[in-house]
């Protein structure tokens, strides 16, 4: 039986009356999987993310976290928020402290670390992410890639069970992307469920275990990449496309329905 980390049922949310940004989301995030979320811009992805740890509260529907209905009385939202780490798109607007050391400290305080244990916790996270030479560096001198790395480290400092990344690799070059994804894989290996929202289908094809497709405030498709990407026409209808590999395969062997998952050389 597969365990669900998070489940959403008919979640609806509108910033303005009657204009639903989320229009009945049914969604499941299985535990310890690599999940991808794709969908055109403006489909409500960011709003959906804000429901993943209760930054927004759905106006209708329910969210279950680890099997527990979070909209019931007595649900521990502080704990929930600690267990879900979100890295937003723009790292500029997430780094608050002038020095890396302080930035990590903010996250550690969030994780509920005491003042006394702070030093050890800081040393641990520093060693894990190789931040030794960064500790006393000012965050505003960093390049975009370094800032993205830092936001990842800070989010991981709180040891979340679910790590959510919004377009982590935009503006990164190939090498930085590889480094970043290596780290994400290590994090996944260590037992964290990872959810990535992206526009890069080739990346989804190679990386994800589960793909969810979002369109106009709903999750319209969900499943393994080879199933989701098998139906190209449906994806084209909602202004998405299949990965290049799938396109090439389908052009090469149009009679075969199933495209093999394989990692690019």
């Amino acid at each position: 039986m597969k365990t669900l980390l998070l489940r959403m049922e008919r979640v609806k949310y509108a910033y303005q009356a009657e204009r639903y940004v989320l229009n009945g989301v049914d969604w499941e995030i299985p535990e310890r999987k690599k999940c991808a979320l794709i969908g055109p811009n403006g489909c409500g992805k960011t709003t959906l993310f804000l429901h993943l740890n209760g930054l927004l509260r759905a106006q209708e529907g329910t969210v279950y976290w680890k099997g527990r209905n979070m909209y019931e009385r007595g649900a521990d939202w502080a704990q929930w928020r600690r267990e879900v780490g979100i890295v937003f798109q723009n790292p500029e607007h997430q780094i608050l402290a002038p020095l890396v050391r302080d930035e990590l400290a903010i996250s550690l305080v969030h994780a509920g670390i005491d003042r006394e244990k702070m030093r050890e916790a800081l040393a641990a996270i520093t060693a894990e992410y190789h931040l030794q030479s960064w500790l006393d560096r000012p965050t505003h001198q960093f390049s975009l890639g370094q800032k993205k790395w830092l936001t990842l480290c800070c989010t991981m400092a709180a040891k979340p069970d679910l790590l959510v990344l919004d377009e982590p690799t935009a503006y990164l070059d190939q090498h930085q992307t590889k480094q970043f994804l290596k780290q994400i894989d290590a994090i996944h290996q260590a037992g964290t469920t990872v959810l990535i929202a992206t526009h890069d289908m080739d990346f989804v094809w190679q990386w994800a275990d589960v793909v969810a497709v979002m369109h106009e405030g709903r999750i319209v498709m969900q499943g393994a990449p080879e199933d989701v990407f098998a139906d190209r026409q449906r994806l084209l209808d909602i202004r998405l496309d299949v990965p290049l590999f799938v396109r090439l395969w389908q052009a090469w062997r149009p009679e075969e329905k199933i495209v093999p998952r394989c990692v690019a050389p």
């Binding site: 928020r81 979100i86 937003f88 500029e92 402290a97 903010i106 969030h110 000012p138 965050t139 505003h140």
Partner: protein, 241 residues
């Protein structure tokens, strides 16, 4: 200039000193300048130049440029002292004011170099952390930390806006100045919204200023020697004067 100064504050050779030491040095020297005569002031001026350029290894070009800007500014301030405007409109130089003005110039530059020593050797966050250790209200300290971070955020936005404007041959009309201000204000609001969101995602606690000073923040012998020599020279100047 602000970015250049800021970079040197992190990259100079005296970064490893405790911020307290640098603050004490700067303030003691400042007190000497303010209380002392012109001999002490010249000594402090030279001593600070030595510490900034030779010990902290800040390039002379950086120091010289800053000093030049300060001197130009000082020159204007002094000009208002030595000229006199009378009715009907005529401007005359007051000869008797020339000597006090010269003295004032030396004092100001010496005092300025103490301040510059502090800013070029010590990153602002270290000084703010010092404020925290001095038990100033946490609200003020956090405000300082956040403001320092946001200054560079908005400065970069402003610089990029100016660059894009220049690429379109703009930036010469005063209306563009208004637009730039407007955009900065919009950016300020938008950053506020994004920052509060990501802060909420991290539990909503700002608690900057966790800092333990580097354990091995030793003062090199050469610096102590330089300090002692300077103190001796000051003492000598004091007795002479």
């Amino acid at each position: 200039m602000i970015r250049e100064f800021d970079r040197w504050a992190y990259d100079n050779r005296l970064r490893a000193w405790r911020a307290e030491w640098k603050l004490i040095v700067a303030f003691v020297m400042l007190a000497v300048v303010m209380m002392g005569g012109w001999r002490e002031q010249w000594l402090v001026l030279i001593g600070m130049a030595y510490w900034i350029v030779a010990r902290a290894r800040v390039p002379f070009s950086v120091y010289g440029k800053a000093m030049l800007a300060a001197s130009v500014f000082l020159g204007i301030s002094l000009l208002t002292l030595v000229v006199s405007v009378s009715v009907p409109f005529r401007i005359t130089f007051i000869d008797s004011q020339l000597q006090p003005a010269a003295k004032l110039a030396v004092r100001s530059l010496a005092a300025w170099s103490c301040l510059f020593f502090l800013l070029i050797t010590t990153p602002a966050p270290d000084l703010i952390a010092l404020l925290k250790r001095m038990r100033l209200p946490a609200a003020l300290v956090e405000l300082c930390f956040l403001m320092y971070r946001f200054i560079f955020l908005l400065e970069q936005a402003a610089a990029e806006l100016m660059l894009a404007l220049r690429a379109r041959s703009g930036g010469t009309h005063w209306r563009h100045g208004g637009m730039l201000m407007y955009q900065l204000w919009v950016k300020t609001w938008q950053s506020y919204e994004s920052f509060s969101r990501s802060l909420a995602a991290r539990g909503g606690v700002v608690s900057c200023g966790y800092r333990h000073q580097q354990e091995k923040a030793h003062v090199p012998l050469a610096d102590i020697a330089a300090g002692i020599i300077m103190a001796l020279l000051l003492g000598w100047a004091w007795r002479k004067g």
